[in-house]
């Protein structure tokens, strides 16, 4: 029997209503589902830079079983290139006879604020850490105003426990409100993180998140092969152009120092064993500083470390120019040399201060 035009209209109305209801229902379900997934299952969709490393660390710890000796390094790309975690892991395993997990938890442009946030996250997750290597890189202290890395923490990238910390250092005065604002529209709130994680090719250059450039090994050591002399000269000239002026008038940013001290206080409160390493630089970069200003800065850092019971190691002149790609980032040769010196001058004394570790090793 043919359908009359009135019936057809009624059918169309009913279909439209059902379509819109389905659309609304599915939309709510999708947003809610993604919110739950990000919060409980797939945190990489919120902050891939940290969470990829955190997940890998958990996998290493699970694989190692028992209570492996855990050594982590937080810092900027300098630590990313310098901290050869696998070499250190092998060295520590030989010395102690125990299972060791060493992971490079650095990220590009990370100053003391990023290190504070990441360390706090590790603590909140009860990650077992036997030694935390904290980077003290003067280049992350020379930005005036707010800490330079505060801009790297928009509200959507943060966990609730990060908010109080970031609020103290961020120019965003409404951080908590912004964090809540699109919370139930995660497809929008976390879109940049999701795309950066799932399909970086779809991300415009200006929306790219800071990730370790170049090749990285499974412990996130960023591998920089040595450069040809001509290439090195070009890189040196470029680095000089960027840093000559800021370093000649180097005055450490007080907010950065405040974040650094907060990090040390956190470490002390949690009774974490930590060491602050003043990052190595090539002779060219070292020569750009006004020597008294540099001395005063190192002294200030050492004082803060002393106040909070954390060791301070000055590795500023550990490496030569040909160990760097630009007098700032160590190449593979520099990283190996740095690892050896770190093992001998930091890890060995640290092990000797904790005879329990060695005794347990000898029992095996």
């Amino acid at each position: 029997m043919p359908i009359s035009s009135t019936s057809r209209l009624v059918l169309l109305q009913a279909r439209s209503l059902r379509t819109l209801c389905w659309a609304l229902g599915t939309l709510v379900l999708l947003q809610f589902g993604l919110r739950l997934a990000i919060d409980h299952l797939w945190p990489e969709l919120r902050d891939p830079t940290f969470e990829v490393k955190a997940r890998r660390l958990r996998q290493f710890l699970d694989r190692a079983g028992g209570q492996p000796l855990t050594v982590l390094a937080v810092g900027s790309s300098v630590t990313g290139n310098a901290f050869h975690a696998r070499l250190l892991e092998e060295w520590l395993a030989r010395q102690t006879g125990r299972k060791v997990v060493a992971v490079n938890m650095s990220t590009q442009g990370a100053g003391p604020l990023t290190q504070l946030i990441w360390t706090n996250r590790l603590i909140q997750r009860r990650t077992p850490v036997d030694l935390l290597c904290i980077e003290a890189n003067p280049l992350t202290y020379c930005h005036p105003g707010y800490p330079e890395d505060a801009n790297r923490f928009p509200a959507w990238l943060l966990l609730e426990e990060d908010l109080d910390i970031v609020q103290r250092y961020s120019p965003d005065t409404d951080l908590r409100h912004n964090w809540r604002h699109h919370r139930w529209v995660p497809f929008y709130q976390h879109r940049l993180a999701m795309l950066n994680y799932l399909s970086p090719n779809l991300v415009p250059t200006r929306d790219r998140m800071a990730t370790q450039g170049g090749a990285v090994d499974d412990r996130f050591w960023a591998i920089l092969p040595p450069r040809s002399p001509e290439h090195l000269q070009r890189s040196l000239a470029q680095a000089r152009g960027w840093y000559e002026k800021p370093l000649q008038h180097f005055t450490p940013n007080q907010r950065c120092l405040q974040a650094f001290e907060e990090l040390l206080a956190l470490v002390q409160k949690q009774r974490l064993s930590a060491v602050v390493v003043f990052t190595p630089q090539g002779p060219m970069m070292r020569g750009l500083f006004h020597p008294p200003a540099l001395r005063a800065f190192k002294q200030r850092l050492a004082e803060l470390c002393h106040r909070h019971g954390v060791d301070f190691v000055d590795a500023h002149d550990w490496l030569d120019e040909d160990h760097f790609t630009d007098s700032i980032h160590p190449n593979t040769i520099g990283a190996e040399r740095y690892a050896r010196r770190l093992a001998e001058e930091v890890l060995r004394p640290w092990l000797h201060q904790r005879p329990g570790l060695l005794q347990r090793a000898s029992l095996r």
């Binding site: 169309l12 379509t19 939309l27 999701m194 779809l202």
Partner: protein, 475 residues
């Protein structure tokens, strides 16, 4: 207040709820009128007042023309209306362009003094609403539409917020009757409005704004980029400008449907046009039709000799180019579009006398070839459209065709561009194969509902960090 912003969402929700809550038809018209003025006043209160005043003048003039009377009196009123509207447009949009051009000419002739430029801001959407006002008064003069007696209805025709700032250019004969018709709640229409709005949102946020992230750095400083980056930016810009403008139109049509109004179609898959004439019948249809009805035909249209038709085409497209913006770049762009139409006309006539060529051009392969050539030529002309000056356009064309290595790497990712083209091609194919009606009206409700939600989520996911204003707002 951009259609794709959160503010617009809240604004629209309030208007939508209040509109359907009011049972009284006149009340609804007044509500829309107030909402439209508020919408425009968000940019500038004084310019909202300007539209109000100019609309009232047009209303009065049209009423005068509608009265039975002396022909010359009616003609005089029409002239006042046209001069008034064009005067407004010229003052705000073109005066500084004319003064600058005059100053440059005077300097070239050795004069040392310059005429001072005006300190005016360009009212958003002025080119659209002045054209709407002109089409109304001309149609009233031609007795094609009766003059609207109700001021609120007329003001709503000009200021209805979905089409106010970037079209489509609405015809009085299409819109005014709708203002008289009481609206009834209709789920099917609501569904259609949501469909249009979602489609527009996807085009704007996921395609146009995404492409803008790739294109903008290249056009800000084209000298820094290698030739291949410019080629990619060109194809990316073609998607951007299409997604941006047709996306805006879809959102406007969707918003209007949600309030029970119908706006005219403004785009019909222009990138599958076989030739430039067909392209202009598919791209910004409301402007093309306006130019045809109120400029090309009054100039003589295609009724005269070949030479006269070609002249009319050139004049129409040059003025169409100038409509887009007050700069020589747009004038030359318009001339090029006119020349392309003339070349196409001449070539078509010539090809018709060559049966083999004509058969090839109408074969499937020939059609694909024609579509590709038309698209490519339009893309090339877009380089001029996007350039900030003639010298920059010259540099871009030079670097497109003469290889330059550049110093910056391309911000356009090949895969990102290809995926986007693929998505657009699939959508076109769906429409061409006739599935659009099925998708819109016959797809099972659960499937359609899920599809809406997925499209919206994808749109949100693909939205770049910072949004961009619609390109056509500047016109």
């Amino acid at each position: 207040m951009l259609f794709c912003s959160e503010v617009y969402l809240y604004f629209f929700l309030v208007v939508f709820t209040a509109y359907w809550a009011i049972a009284w038809h006149r009340g609804r018209v007044w509500l829309l009128l107030v909402a439209s003025f508020y919408f425009y006043a968000c940019w500038n209160q004084w310019l909202a007042l300007l539209i109000g005043v100019s609309t009232m003048i047009d209303y009065t003039l049209a009423r005068g023309m509608d009265a039975p009377g002396w022909h010359r009196w009616r003609k005089g009123l029409l002239l006042v209306s046209i001069v008034g509207n064009l005067g407004l447009l010229c003052y705000f949009k073109y005066m500084n362009f004319f003064l600058e051009s005059l100053n440059q000419s005077l300097h070239a002739l050795g004069a040392s003094t310059s005429l001072p430029l005006l300190q005016v801001i360009l009212p958003v959407g002025i080119s659209f609403y002045t054209f709407e006002a002109i089409n109304y008064t001309v149609d009233v003069y031609r007795r094609k539409v009766p003059a609207e007696r109700n001021l609120a209805n007329f003001m709503l025709f000009i200021t209805f917020f979905p089409h106010l700032v970037a079209g489509p250019i609405v015809r009085a004969r299409d819109f005014l009757p709708q203002t008289h018709r009481p609206k009834k709640w209709n789920w099917a229409r609501l569904n259609l409005g949501v469909q249009f709005f979602l489609m527009g949102l996807f085009k704007k946020l996921a395609i146009a704004d995404r492409m803008a992230c790739f294109v903008d750095p290249v056009f800000e400083n084209p000298a820094l980029y290698p030739s291949h980056a410019l080629w990619m930016a060109m194809f990316a810009y073609a998607l951007q400008v299409y997604g941006d403008f047709s996306g805006y139109t879809d959102m406007a049509i969707g918003s209007a449907h949600l309030l029970g109004y119908k706006l005219a179609q403004n785009f019909n898959m222009p990138y599958i046009a076989r030739d430039i004439a067909e392209f202009w019948r598919r791209w910004h249809i409301s402007l093309s039709l306006w130019l045809r009805d109120y400029l090309f035909i009054p100039l003589g249209g295609s009724r005269g000799t070949n030479w006269q038709t070609n002249r009319n085409l050139l004049i129409t497209m040059t003025l169409g180019g100038l409509w887009h913006g007050a700069s020589w770049v747009f004038v030359i762009w318009g001339i090029i579009q006119g020349l392309l139409l003339v070349i196409h006309r001449t070539f078509s006539a010539w090809a018709q006398t060559r049966p083999l060529l004509s058969r090839f051009l109408h074969s499937p392969l020939g059609t694909v070839w024609c579509v590709m050539v038309t698209f490519f030529i339009f893309c090339l002309t877009l380089m001029l459209f996007r350039s900030q000056s003639l010298s920059q356009a010259g540099l871009i064309f030079h670097n497109l065709f003469v290889f330059v290595p550049g110093t910056e790497s391309s911000p356009v990712h090949v895969s990102g561009l290809l995926y986007t083209y693929l998505v657009v091609a699939v959508c076109h194919a769906v429409a061409l194969l006739g599935y659009r009606r099925w998708l819109a009206f016959k797809m099972p409700a659960p499937l359609a509902g899920i599809a809406y939600a997925v499209v919206l989520c994808l749109t949100l996911l693909l939205t770049p960090a910072s949004g961009k204003a619609f390109i056509y707002f500047q016109f």
